[in-house]
Protein backbone atom coordinates (compact mmCIF):
# COMPACT_ATOMS: atom_id res chain seq x y z
CA UNK A 1 0.00 0.00 0.00
CA UNK A 2 1.57 3.33 -1.00
CA UNK A 3 2.14 5.49 2.09
CA UNK A 4 3.51 8.55 0.36
CA UNK A 5 3.91 9.45 -3.31
CA UNK A 6 5.03 12.29 -5.55
CA UNK A 7 3.18 12.55 -8.86
CA UNK A 8 4.91 14.62 -11.57
CA UNK A 9 6.11 17.07 -8.92
CA UNK A 10 7.99 20.21 -9.99
CA UNK A 11 9.66 22.39 -7.32
CA UNK A 12 11.29 25.81 -7.74
CA UNK A 13 12.97 28.50 -5.64
CA UNK A 14 11.84 31.78 -7.17
CA UNK A 15 12.18 31.29 -10.94
CA UNK A 16 14.81 28.51 -10.94
CA UNK A 17 13.28 25.03 -11.08
CA UNK A 18 15.17 22.55 -8.89
CA UNK A 19 13.01 19.43 -9.33
CA UNK A 20 11.31 18.59 -12.65
CA UNK A 21 8.28 16.32 -13.06
CA UNK A 22 9.40 13.72 -10.49
CA UNK A 23 7.20 10.71 -9.66
CA UNK A 24 8.16 8.53 -6.72
CA UNK A 25 6.27 6.11 -4.45
CA UNK A 26 7.18 5.05 -0.90
CA UNK A 27 5.57 1.91 0.52
CA UNK A 28 6.24 -0.26 3.56
CA UNK A 29 9.69 -1.46 2.52
CA UNK A 30 12.79 0.77 2.36
CA UNK A 31 12.91 3.04 -0.68
CA UNK A 32 16.18 4.73 -1.68
CA UNK A 33 16.62 8.14 -3.35
CA UNK A 34 20.17 8.46 -4.68
CA UNK A 35 21.53 11.84 -5.71
CA UNK A 36 24.60 14.04 -5.38
CA UNK A 37 24.76 17.65 -4.21
CA UNK A 38 22.57 19.92 -6.32
CA UNK A 39 20.42 17.02 -7.55
CA UNK A 40 17.38 18.43 -5.66
CA UNK A 41 17.00 15.40 -3.38
CA UNK A 42 16.67 17.45 -0.18
CA UNK A 43 14.13 19.81 -1.77
CA UNK A 44 12.10 16.78 -2.89
CA UNK A 45 12.28 15.41 0.65
CA UNK A 46 10.96 18.72 2.02
CA UNK A 47 8.06 18.57 -0.45
CA UNK A 48 7.21 15.01 0.62
CA UNK A 49 7.26 16.23 4.26
CA UNK A 50 4.82 19.01 3.38
CA UNK A 51 7.36 21.75 4.16
CA UNK A 52 7.47 23.04 0.56
CA UNK A 53 4.47 23.45 -1.77
CA UNK A 54 5.07 21.98 -5.26
CA UNK A 55 4.99 24.44 -8.20
CA UNK A 56 3.06 21.73 -10.11
CA UNK A 57 2.16 18.07 -9.58
CA UNK A 58 0.79 16.46 -6.39
CA UNK A 59 2.21 14.92 -3.20
CA UNK A 60 -0.16 12.18 -2.02
CA UNK A 61 -0.48 10.84 1.53
CA UNK A 62 -2.14 7.47 1.10
CA UNK A 63 -4.61 8.45 -1.63
CA UNK A 64 -5.26 12.04 -0.56
CA UNK A 65 -3.59 15.18 -1.92
CA UNK A 66 -1.42 16.61 0.87
CA UNK A 67 -2.33 20.19 -0.05
CA UNK A 68 -6.04 19.42 0.30
CA UNK A 69 -5.92 17.80 3.74
CA UNK A 70 -8.18 19.35 6.36
CA UNK A 71 -7.12 19.97 9.95
CA UNK A 72 -7.66 16.37 11.09
CA UNK A 73 -6.11 14.95 7.90
CA UNK A 74 -3.06 17.16 8.36
CA UNK A 75 -2.72 16.14 12.04
CA UNK A 76 -2.85 12.49 11.00
CA UNK A 77 -0.21 13.09 8.29
CA UNK A 78 2.02 14.89 10.82
CA UNK A 79 1.91 11.84 13.08
CA UNK A 80 2.40 9.33 10.29
CA UNK A 81 5.44 10.84 8.49
CA UNK A 82 8.52 12.03 10.42
CA UNK A 83 11.93 13.28 9.26
CA UNK A 84 15.42 12.39 10.45
CA UNK A 85 17.87 15.01 9.21
CA UNK A 86 21.53 14.70 8.33
CA UNK A 87 23.08 16.28 11.38
CA UNK A 88 21.65 15.62 14.86
CA UNK A 89 22.82 19.06 16.04
CA UNK A 90 20.78 20.58 13.19
CA UNK A 91 17.61 18.60 14.02
CA UNK A 92 17.65 19.32 17.77
CA UNK A 93 17.08 22.74 19.38
CA UNK A 94 20.50 23.58 20.92
CA UNK A 95 18.84 25.11 24.00
CA UNK A 96 16.61 22.13 24.80
CA UNK A 97 17.68 18.93 26.53
CA UNK A 98 17.16 15.59 24.80
CA UNK A 99 14.28 14.83 27.19
CA UNK A 100 12.58 18.15 26.41
CA UNK A 101 12.91 17.62 22.65
CA UNK A 102 11.35 14.18 22.87
CA UNK A 103 8.65 15.43 25.24
CA UNK A 104 7.70 18.11 22.73
CA UNK A 105 7.05 15.37 20.18
CA UNK A 106 5.05 13.33 22.71
CA UNK A 107 2.83 16.17 23.90
CA UNK A 108 2.14 17.90 20.56
CA UNK A 109 -0.65 15.46 19.69
CA UNK A 110 -1.94 14.20 23.02
CA UNK A 111 -1.84 15.22 26.63
CA UNK A 112 0.19 13.09 29.02
CA UNK A 113 0.80 13.21 32.75
CA UNK A 114 4.32 14.07 33.84
CA UNK A 115 5.02 10.53 35.03
CA UNK A 116 3.71 8.97 31.84
CA UNK A 117 5.84 11.38 29.83
CA UNK A 118 9.00 10.47 31.75
CA UNK A 119 8.39 6.76 31.25
CA UNK A 120 7.78 7.20 27.51
CA UNK A 121 10.98 9.28 27.16
CA UNK A 122 13.03 6.65 29.01
CA UNK A 123 11.48 3.87 26.88
CA UNK A 124 12.21 5.75 23.64
CA UNK A 125 15.82 6.44 24.66
CA UNK A 126 16.30 2.78 25.54
CA UNK A 127 14.69 1.79 22.21
CA UNK A 128 17.38 3.72 20.32
CA UNK A 129 20.12 2.26 22.52
CA UNK A 130 20.73 5.29 24.76
CA UNK A 131 21.05 5.48 28.55
CA UNK A 132 17.93 7.32 29.89
CA UNK A 133 20.25 9.54 31.94
CA UNK A 134 21.05 11.26 28.62
CA UNK A 135 17.61 12.94 28.77
CA UNK A 136 19.12 15.79 30.83
CA UNK A 137 21.89 16.58 28.34
CA UNK A 138 21.87 19.29 25.66
CA UNK A 139 22.92 18.52 22.07
CA UNK A 140 26.41 20.02 22.43
CA UNK A 141 27.00 17.72 25.42
CA UNK A 142 26.53 14.61 23.29
CA UNK A 143 28.47 12.87 20.52
CA UNK A 144 27.29 12.96 16.87
CA UNK A 145 26.02 9.39 17.12
CA UNK A 146 24.09 10.10 20.32
CA UNK A 147 22.49 13.22 18.82
CA UNK A 148 21.34 11.24 15.80
CA UNK A 149 19.84 8.56 18.06
CA UNK A 150 17.93 11.24 20.02
CA UNK A 151 16.62 12.60 16.68
CA UNK A 152 15.40 9.10 15.78
CA UNK A 153 13.80 8.67 19.24
CA UNK A 154 12.02 12.01 18.72
CA UNK A 155 10.66 10.83 15.37
CA UNK A 156 9.46 7.55 16.93
CA UNK A 157 7.67 9.42 19.76
CA UNK A 158 4.59 10.04 17.56
CA UNK A 159 4.57 6.37 16.43
CA UNK A 160 4.97 7.25 12.75
CA UNK A 161 4.37 4.81 9.88
CA UNK A 162 7.08 6.31 7.61
CA UNK A 163 10.47 7.93 8.23
CA UNK A 164 12.02 10.32 5.71
CA UNK A 165 15.77 9.96 6.32
CA UNK A 166 17.77 12.77 4.66
CA UNK A 167 21.47 11.67 4.65
CA UNK A 168 20.99 10.20 8.18
CA UNK A 169 24.60 9.02 8.57
CA UNK A 170 26.78 11.10 6.24
CA UNK A 171 27.83 13.51 9.04
CA UNK A 172 29.02 10.60 11.21
CA UNK A 173 32.27 8.65 11.43
CA UNK A 174 32.25 5.36 9.54
CA UNK A 175 32.10 3.10 12.61
CA UNK A 176 29.28 5.17 14.15
CA UNK A 177 27.52 5.18 10.77
CA UNK A 178 27.47 1.38 10.70
CA UNK A 179 25.82 1.22 14.14
CA UNK A 180 23.16 3.82 13.25
CA UNK A 181 22.30 1.83 10.10
CA UNK A 182 21.91 -1.29 12.28
CA UNK A 183 19.59 0.69 14.56
CA UNK A 184 17.45 1.94 11.65
CA UNK A 185 17.19 -1.57 10.21
CA UNK A 186 16.12 -3.02 13.58
CA UNK A 187 13.58 -0.25 14.32
CA UNK A 188 12.03 -0.52 10.85
CA UNK A 189 11.54 -4.24 11.35
CA UNK A 190 10.26 -4.00 14.94
CA UNK A 191 7.87 -1.07 14.33
CA UNK A 192 6.83 -2.05 10.80
CA UNK A 193 8.15 1.30 9.58
CA UNK A 194 8.44 2.28 5.94
CA UNK A 195 11.26 4.66 5.12
CA UNK A 196 12.56 6.85 2.32
CA UNK A 197 16.36 6.93 2.57
CA UNK A 198 17.90 9.93 0.78
CA UNK A 199 21.67 9.78 0.27
CA UNK A 200 24.59 10.00 -2.13
CA UNK A 201 26.12 6.84 -0.57
CA UNK A 202 25.43 3.79 -2.77
CA UNK A 203 26.69 1.37 -0.09
CA UNK A 204 24.08 2.57 2.42
CA UNK A 205 21.25 2.32 -0.14
CA UNK A 206 22.47 -1.09 -1.26
CA UNK A 207 22.14 -2.38 2.27
CA UNK A 208 18.85 -0.82 3.42
CA UNK A 209 16.60 -0.22 0.40
CA UNK A 210 14.70 -2.74 -1.70
CA UNK A 211 13.98 -0.29 -4.50
CA UNK A 212 15.66 3.02 -5.38
CA UNK A 213 15.47 5.99 -7.71
CA UNK A 214 18.45 7.93 -9.03
CA UNK A 215 18.12 11.74 -9.25
CA UNK A 216 20.27 13.87 -11.53
CA UNK A 217 19.69 17.66 -11.94
CA UNK A 218 16.20 17.35 -10.44
CA UNK A 219 15.03 14.48 -12.68
CA UNK A 220 14.61 10.77 -11.93
CA UNK A 221 16.96 9.21 -14.47
CA UNK A 222 16.49 5.60 -13.30
CA UNK A 223 14.42 3.65 -10.76
CA UNK A 224 14.00 -0.01 -9.91
CA UNK A 225 15.15 -2.81 -7.58
CA UNK A 226 18.30 -1.53 -5.84
CA UNK A 227 20.41 -4.65 -6.33
CA UNK A 228 19.66 -4.68 -10.06
CA UNK A 229 20.27 -0.94 -10.30
CA UNK A 230 23.73 -1.28 -8.80
CA UNK A 231 24.89 -4.47 -10.49
CA UNK A 232 23.46 -3.77 -13.97
CA UNK A 233 22.78 0.00 -14.22
CA UNK A 234 20.62 0.99 -17.21
CA UNK A 235 21.47 4.71 -17.17
CA UNK A 236 24.96 6.07 -17.93
CA UNK A 237 24.79 8.39 -14.85
CA UNK A 238 23.95 5.51 -12.52
CA UNK A 239 26.86 3.62 -14.03
CA UNK A 240 29.22 6.60 -13.68
CA UNK A 241 28.07 6.98 -10.06
CA UNK A 242 28.68 3.30 -9.32
CA UNK A 243 32.06 3.17 -11.09
CA UNK A 244 33.32 6.34 -9.36
CA UNK A 245 32.99 4.81 -5.86
CA UNK A 246 36.39 3.41 -4.81
CA UNK A 247 36.27 -0.14 -3.50
CA UNK A 248 38.58 -1.34 -0.72
CA UNK A 249 41.64 -2.71 -2.50
CA UNK A 250 39.88 -2.33 -5.84
CA UNK A 251 40.97 -0.66 -9.11
CA UNK A 252 41.24 3.14 -8.79
CA UNK A 253 38.06 4.66 -10.33
CA UNK A 254 38.76 6.10 -13.79
CA UNK A 255 38.16 9.87 -14.16
CA UNK A 256 35.68 10.75 -16.94
CA UNK A 257 37.10 14.24 -17.44
CA UNK A 258 33.81 16.13 -17.79
CA UNK A 259 31.73 15.22 -14.76
CA UNK A 260 31.55 18.81 -13.55
CA UNK A 261 29.81 20.25 -16.56
CA UNK A 262 26.62 22.12 -15.69
CA UNK A 263 23.49 20.02 -16.48
CA UNK A 264 22.47 20.70 -20.09
CA UNK A 265 19.31 22.77 -20.40
CA UNK A 266 18.17 21.20 -23.70
CA UNK A 267 17.73 17.51 -24.44
CA UNK A 268 19.09 15.07 -21.86
CA UNK A 269 20.54 16.91 -18.81
CA UNK A 270 23.40 14.37 -18.53
CA UNK A 271 24.48 14.53 -22.17
CA UNK A 272 27.58 16.74 -21.65
CA UNK A 273 29.50 14.33 -19.41
CA UNK A 274 27.78 11.25 -20.92
CA UNK A 275 30.16 8.91 -22.78
CA UNK A 276 27.27 7.59 -24.92
CA UNK A 277 25.82 10.96 -25.92
CA UNK A 278 24.70 11.26 -29.54
CA UNK A 279 22.84 13.96 -31.52
CA UNK A 280 19.46 12.53 -30.46
CA UNK A 281 20.41 13.14 -26.85
CA UNK A 282 20.88 16.83 -27.65
CA UNK A 283 17.70 17.23 -29.66
CA UNK A 284 15.22 15.12 -27.70
CA UNK A 285 14.94 14.84 -23.92
CA UNK A 286 14.57 11.11 -23.10
CA UNK A 287 11.31 10.16 -21.34
CA UNK A 288 11.28 7.51 -18.61
CA UNK A 289 10.36 4.12 -20.09
CA UNK A 290 10.30 0.49 -19.03
CA UNK A 291 13.51 -1.44 -19.76
CA UNK A 292 13.98 -4.90 -18.18
CA UNK A 293 11.94 -4.09 -15.05
CA UNK A 294 13.52 -0.65 -14.67
CA UNK A 295 12.19 2.87 -15.28
CA UNK A 296 14.99 4.67 -17.14
CA UNK A 297 15.22 7.99 -19.00
CA UNK A 298 17.87 7.29 -21.63
CA UNK A 299 17.69 6.72 -25.38
CA UNK A 300 20.47 4.11 -25.22
CA UNK A 301 19.50 2.31 -22.03
CA UNK A 302 19.56 -1.08 -23.76
CA UNK A 303 23.17 -0.53 -24.78
CA UNK A 304 24.13 0.58 -21.26
CA UNK A 305 22.47 -2.58 -19.91
CA UNK A 306 23.82 -4.94 -22.48
CA UNK A 307 26.80 -3.82 -24.35
CA UNK A 308 28.97 -1.20 -22.78
CA UNK A 309 31.97 -2.51 -20.85
CA UNK A 310 34.31 -0.42 -18.79
CA UNK A 311 37.31 -0.60 -21.14
CA UNK A 312 35.27 0.22 -24.20
CA UNK A 313 33.49 3.14 -22.58
CA UNK A 314 36.81 4.99 -22.27
CA UNK A 315 38.25 3.91 -25.64
CA UNK A 316 36.90 6.97 -27.52
CA UNK A 317 38.28 9.26 -24.79
CA UNK A 318 42.05 8.78 -25.38
Amino acid sequence: MTLLAAEKVTLAYGTTAVVHDVSLTVDEGGVGLIGESGSGKTTLARALLGLVRPRSGVVRYGSRDLAGLGRTGRAEFRRAVQPVFQDGSEALDPRMTAGASITEALTTHHRMSRAERRDRVDALLADVGLDPALAARRPHEMSGGQRQRVAVARALAVEPRLLVLDEPTSALDVTVQARILDLLERLAAEHGLGYLLITHNLGVVGRLCRTSSVLFAGRVVESGPTRELLTRPAHPYTRALRDAVPRLGGEPPRPTGRTEAAPATSGCPFRVPCPLAVDRCRDEAPLAREVEGRGVACHRAEEVLGHVSREDRDAPRQ
Binding site: E36, S37, D173, V174, T175, Q177, A178, L181, H200, N201, L202, G203, G206, R207, R227, L230, T231, R232, P233, L241, R242, D243, A244, V245, P246, R247, L248, G249, G250, E251, P252, P253, R254, P255, T256, R258, T259, E260, A261, A264, R271, V272, C274, P275, L276, A277, V278, D279, C281, R282, E303, G306, H307, V308, S309, R310, E311, D312, A315, P316
Partner: protein, 272 residues
Protein backbone atom coordinates in the same frame (compact mmCIF):
# COMPACT_ATOMS: atom_id res chain seq x y z
CA UNK B 1 64.83 10.40 -1.01
CA UNK B 2 62.84 11.33 2.09
CA UNK B 3 61.16 14.72 1.62
CA UNK B 4 59.21 14.78 4.91
CA UNK B 5 60.13 13.01 8.13
CA UNK B 6 58.52 13.10 11.55
CA UNK B 7 60.12 11.71 14.68
CA UNK B 8 58.51 11.46 18.19
CA UNK B 9 55.99 14.19 17.38
CA UNK B 10 53.77 15.23 20.32
CA UNK B 11 51.19 18.02 20.04
CA UNK B 12 49.72 19.20 23.34
CA UNK B 13 46.98 21.70 24.19
CA UNK B 14 47.23 22.35 27.91
CA UNK B 15 48.19 18.95 29.32
CA UNK B 16 46.20 16.88 26.78
CA UNK B 17 48.16 15.20 23.99
CA UNK B 18 46.01 15.54 20.89
CA UNK B 19 48.48 13.87 18.49
CA UNK B 20 51.60 11.74 18.99
CA UNK B 21 53.41 10.11 16.03
CA UNK B 22 56.62 8.17 16.78
CA UNK B 23 57.81 7.90 13.19
CA UNK B 24 56.52 8.95 9.77
CA UNK B 25 58.43 9.40 6.51
CA UNK B 26 57.19 10.44 3.06
CA UNK B 27 59.55 9.94 0.11
CA UNK B 28 59.44 11.42 -3.38
CA UNK B 29 56.84 9.69 -5.59
CA UNK B 30 55.16 8.11 -2.54
CA UNK B 31 51.70 8.62 -1.02
CA UNK B 32 51.42 8.05 2.72
CA UNK B 33 47.88 8.19 4.13
CA UNK B 34 46.85 8.85 7.71
CA UNK B 35 43.42 7.31 8.33
CA UNK B 36 41.23 7.64 11.37
CA UNK B 37 37.98 9.08 12.59
CA UNK B 38 37.27 12.58 13.92
CA UNK B 39 39.34 13.44 16.95
CA UNK B 40 42.06 10.93 15.99
CA UNK B 41 44.65 13.74 15.59
CA UNK B 42 45.29 13.05 11.90
CA UNK B 43 44.70 16.65 10.75
CA UNK B 44 46.73 18.05 13.68
CA UNK B 45 49.65 15.87 12.62
CA UNK B 46 49.45 17.14 9.05
CA UNK B 47 49.24 20.80 10.14
CA UNK B 48 52.13 20.36 12.58
CA UNK B 49 54.45 19.56 9.66
CA UNK B 50 54.06 23.18 8.47
CA UNK B 51 54.04 24.67 11.98
CA UNK B 52 50.42 25.70 11.53
CA UNK B 53 49.16 24.42 14.91
CA UNK B 54 48.86 27.92 16.42
CA UNK B 55 48.65 28.01 20.18
CA UNK B 56 49.57 24.34 20.65
CA UNK B 57 52.68 22.98 22.33
CA UNK B 58 54.56 20.89 19.70
CA UNK B 59 57.62 18.75 20.50
CA UNK B 60 59.68 16.23 18.56
CA UNK B 61 61.46 16.69 15.22
CA UNK B 62 59.91 17.45 11.83
CA UNK B 63 62.12 17.92 8.77
CA UNK B 64 60.84 19.17 5.42
CA UNK B 65 63.74 18.68 2.98
CA UNK B 66 66.69 20.03 4.98
CA UNK B 67 64.70 22.34 7.28
CA UNK B 68 63.85 21.38 10.87
CA UNK B 69 60.38 22.96 11.22
CA UNK B 70 60.35 23.17 15.04
CA UNK B 71 63.64 25.05 15.38
CA UNK B 72 63.49 27.10 12.17
CA UNK B 73 63.02 30.86 12.53
CA UNK B 74 59.55 32.17 11.66
CA UNK B 75 61.02 33.79 8.53
CA UNK B 76 62.69 30.53 7.40
CA UNK B 77 59.47 28.65 8.14
CA UNK B 78 57.48 31.06 5.98
CA UNK B 79 59.97 30.55 3.16
CA UNK B 80 59.35 26.80 2.93
CA UNK B 81 55.56 27.06 3.32
CA UNK B 82 54.13 26.71 -0.15
CA UNK B 83 57.51 26.44 -1.89
CA UNK B 84 58.61 23.13 -0.28
CA UNK B 85 55.43 21.76 1.25
CA UNK B 86 51.94 22.92 0.22
CA UNK B 87 48.56 22.50 1.85
CA UNK B 88 45.37 21.31 0.11
CA UNK B 89 42.35 21.74 2.35
CA UNK B 90 39.01 19.99 2.85
CA UNK B 91 36.46 22.56 1.70
CA UNK B 92 37.78 23.80 -1.66
CA UNK B 93 35.83 27.07 -2.06
CA UNK B 94 36.25 28.11 1.59
CA UNK B 95 40.01 27.72 1.24
CA UNK B 96 40.19 30.42 -1.45
CA UNK B 97 39.95 34.14 -0.62
CA UNK B 98 36.36 35.10 -1.61
CA UNK B 99 37.21 38.58 -2.90
CA UNK B 100 40.23 37.60 -5.02
CA UNK B 101 40.42 36.19 -8.55
CA UNK B 102 42.24 32.86 -8.63
CA UNK B 103 44.98 34.37 -10.84
CA UNK B 104 45.60 37.19 -8.37
CA UNK B 105 46.02 34.71 -5.51
CA UNK B 106 48.49 32.63 -7.55
CA UNK B 107 50.41 35.72 -8.68
CA UNK B 108 50.74 36.98 -5.09
CA UNK B 109 51.84 33.54 -3.85
CA UNK B 110 54.48 33.34 -6.62
CA UNK B 111 55.66 36.89 -5.91
CA UNK B 112 55.94 35.98 -2.21
CA UNK B 113 58.48 33.33 -3.24
CA UNK B 114 60.37 35.60 -5.63
CA UNK B 115 58.75 34.59 -8.94
CA UNK B 116 57.42 37.59 -10.84
CA UNK B 117 56.42 38.84 -14.29
CA UNK B 118 56.52 36.58 -17.36
CA UNK B 119 58.11 33.68 -15.45
CA UNK B 120 55.22 33.81 -12.96
CA UNK B 121 52.58 33.89 -15.72
CA UNK B 122 54.20 30.95 -17.46
CA UNK B 123 54.44 28.83 -14.30
CA UNK B 124 50.84 29.68 -13.42
CA UNK B 125 49.48 28.55 -16.79
CA UNK B 126 51.65 25.44 -16.86
CA UNK B 127 50.51 24.44 -13.35
CA UNK B 128 46.83 25.05 -14.15
CA UNK B 129 47.08 22.93 -17.33
CA UNK B 130 48.85 20.17 -15.37
CA UNK B 131 45.67 19.73 -13.29
CA UNK B 132 43.44 19.66 -16.43
CA UNK B 133 42.04 23.18 -15.94
CA UNK B 134 41.60 25.84 -18.62
CA UNK B 135 43.89 28.87 -17.82
CA UNK B 136 40.77 31.04 -18.34
CA UNK B 137 39.79 29.96 -14.83
CA UNK B 138 42.49 32.29 -13.43
CA UNK B 139 40.17 35.24 -14.20
CA UNK B 140 37.32 33.81 -12.11
CA UNK B 141 36.42 34.29 -8.46
CA UNK B 142 36.05 31.27 -6.10
CA UNK B 143 32.22 31.46 -6.10
CA UNK B 144 32.30 31.13 -9.91
CA UNK B 145 34.04 27.75 -9.95
CA UNK B 146 32.88 24.26 -8.89
CA UNK B 147 34.24 22.32 -5.92
CA UNK B 148 36.32 19.96 -8.02
CA UNK B 149 37.82 22.84 -10.02
CA UNK B 150 38.66 24.80 -6.85
CA UNK B 151 40.39 21.72 -5.38
CA UNK B 152 42.42 21.12 -8.53
CA UNK B 153 43.39 24.80 -8.51
CA UNK B 154 44.71 24.39 -4.95
CA UNK B 155 46.92 21.55 -6.25
CA UNK B 156 48.02 23.80 -9.14
CA UNK B 157 49.07 26.41 -6.54
CA UNK B 158 51.41 23.83 -5.00
CA UNK B 159 52.83 22.93 -8.42
CA UNK B 160 53.39 26.53 -9.45
CA UNK B 161 55.34 27.17 -6.24
CA UNK B 162 57.44 24.08 -6.89
CA UNK B 163 56.38 22.25 -3.73
CA UNK B 164 57.79 18.71 -3.54
CA UNK B 165 55.37 17.69 -0.76
CA UNK B 166 51.57 18.04 -0.93
CA UNK B 167 49.76 17.92 2.42
CA UNK B 168 46.18 16.98 1.52
CA UNK B 169 43.71 17.25 4.41
CA UNK B 170 40.55 15.28 3.41
CA UNK B 171 40.84 16.75 -0.11
CA UNK B 172 37.75 15.00 -1.52
CA UNK B 173 35.36 14.50 1.42
CA UNK B 174 33.46 17.71 0.52
CA UNK B 175 33.14 16.67 -3.14
CA UNK B 176 30.60 14.46 -4.93
CA UNK B 177 31.89 10.95 -5.59
CA UNK B 178 31.87 11.46 -9.38
CA UNK B 179 34.14 14.50 -8.89
CA UNK B 180 36.40 12.78 -6.34
CA UNK B 181 37.85 10.53 -9.02
CA UNK B 182 39.07 13.63 -10.94
CA UNK B 183 40.95 15.10 -8.00
CA UNK B 184 42.44 11.78 -6.84
CA UNK B 185 43.55 10.98 -10.40
CA UNK B 186 45.42 14.32 -10.58
CA UNK B 187 47.19 13.61 -7.28
CA UNK B 188 48.07 10.08 -8.43
CA UNK B 189 49.42 11.27 -11.78
CA UNK B 190 51.57 14.02 -10.19
CA UNK B 191 52.95 11.48 -7.72
CA UNK B 192 53.83 9.06 -10.50
CA UNK B 193 55.02 11.51 -13.21
CA UNK B 194 56.59 14.30 -11.12
CA UNK B 195 57.76 12.36 -8.06
CA UNK B 196 55.51 14.42 -5.76
CA UNK B 197 55.37 13.25 -2.12
CA UNK B 198 51.76 13.18 -0.90
CA UNK B 199 50.70 13.07 2.76
CA UNK B 200 46.97 12.29 2.56
CA UNK B 201 44.65 12.58 5.57
CA UNK B 202 41.28 10.84 5.14
CA UNK B 203 38.53 8.92 6.89
CA UNK B 204 37.59 7.11 3.62
CA UNK B 205 39.49 3.80 3.72
CA UNK B 206 38.25 2.69 0.30
CA UNK B 207 39.58 5.89 -1.32
CA UNK B 208 42.89 5.57 0.56
CA UNK B 209 43.29 1.96 -0.61
CA UNK B 210 43.22 3.12 -4.26
CA UNK B 211 46.13 5.60 -3.95
CA UNK B 212 48.18 5.14 -0.78
CA UNK B 213 51.51 3.27 -0.78
CA UNK B 214 51.77 3.26 3.02
CA UNK B 215 49.04 3.72 5.65
CA UNK B 216 49.14 5.03 9.25
CA UNK B 217 46.03 4.31 11.34
CA UNK B 218 45.39 6.79 14.19
CA UNK B 219 42.91 6.68 17.05
CA UNK B 220 42.43 9.25 19.87
CA UNK B 221 45.76 10.91 19.07
CA UNK B 222 47.97 7.83 18.82
CA UNK B 223 49.17 5.58 15.98
CA UNK B 224 47.63 2.11 16.39
CA UNK B 225 49.07 0.55 13.20
CA UNK B 226 51.15 1.49 10.15
CA UNK B 227 52.71 -0.30 7.17
CA UNK B 228 52.40 -0.88 3.42
CA UNK B 229 48.79 -0.19 2.33
CA UNK B 230 48.15 -3.57 0.67
CA UNK B 231 49.32 -5.41 3.76
CA UNK B 232 47.40 -3.29 6.29
CA UNK B 233 44.15 -3.64 4.34
CA UNK B 234 44.61 -7.36 3.60
CA UNK B 235 45.90 -8.48 7.03
CA UNK B 236 45.08 -5.75 9.61
CA UNK B 237 46.81 -6.55 12.94
CA UNK B 238 45.03 -4.02 15.20
CA UNK B 239 41.38 -4.70 16.20
CA UNK B 240 40.48 -1.03 15.61
CA UNK B 241 41.82 -1.21 12.05
CA UNK B 242 39.73 -4.33 11.52
CA UNK B 243 36.66 -2.50 12.83
CA UNK B 244 37.33 0.42 10.47
CA UNK B 245 37.66 -1.91 7.49
CA UNK B 246 34.49 -3.84 8.46
CA UNK B 247 32.54 -0.57 8.66
CA UNK B 248 33.16 0.32 4.99
CA UNK B 249 29.69 -0.24 3.41
CA UNK B 250 29.79 -3.18 1.01
CA UNK B 251 29.07 -2.30 -2.60
CA UNK B 252 27.74 -4.87 -5.12
CA UNK B 253 30.49 -5.78 -7.55
CA UNK B 254 30.43 -4.18 -11.03
CA UNK B 255 28.60 -6.21 -13.71
CA UNK B 256 30.45 -8.75 -15.83
CA UNK B 257 32.64 -7.47 -18.71
CA UNK B 258 30.39 -7.14 -21.80
CA UNK B 259 31.13 -7.65 -25.54
CA UNK B 260 32.30 -4.90 -27.95
CA UNK B 261 29.89 -2.06 -28.83
CA UNK B 262 29.41 -0.23 -32.15
CA UNK B 263 31.66 2.50 -33.70
CA UNK B 264 33.46 5.18 -31.67
CA UNK B 265 30.94 7.64 -30.30
CA UNK B 266 30.88 11.17 -31.75
CA UNK B 267 31.74 13.94 -29.31
CA UNK B 268 28.40 15.52 -28.40
CA UNK B 269 27.40 18.59 -26.40
CA UNK B 270 29.52 21.62 -25.62
CA UNK B 271 32.63 21.28 -23.47
CA UNK B 272 33.31 22.91 -20.11
Amino acid sequence: MTLLSVRDLAVRIGDRVIASVPELDVCAGECVAIVGESGSGKTTTLLATLGLTQGADVSGRITVGDVDVLTASPARLREIRGSRAALVMQSPQAALNPTMRLGTLMRRALARHGVKGADARERAEEAVRAVLLDPEILRRHPHQVSGGQAQRFAIALALALGAQVVLADEPTSALDVTVQAEVVAVLRRLRDERGLAVLLVSHDLALVSTIADRVVVMRDGTVVESGPAAEVFARPRDPYTRELIAAVPELPEAGPALPEVGPALPEAGEDL
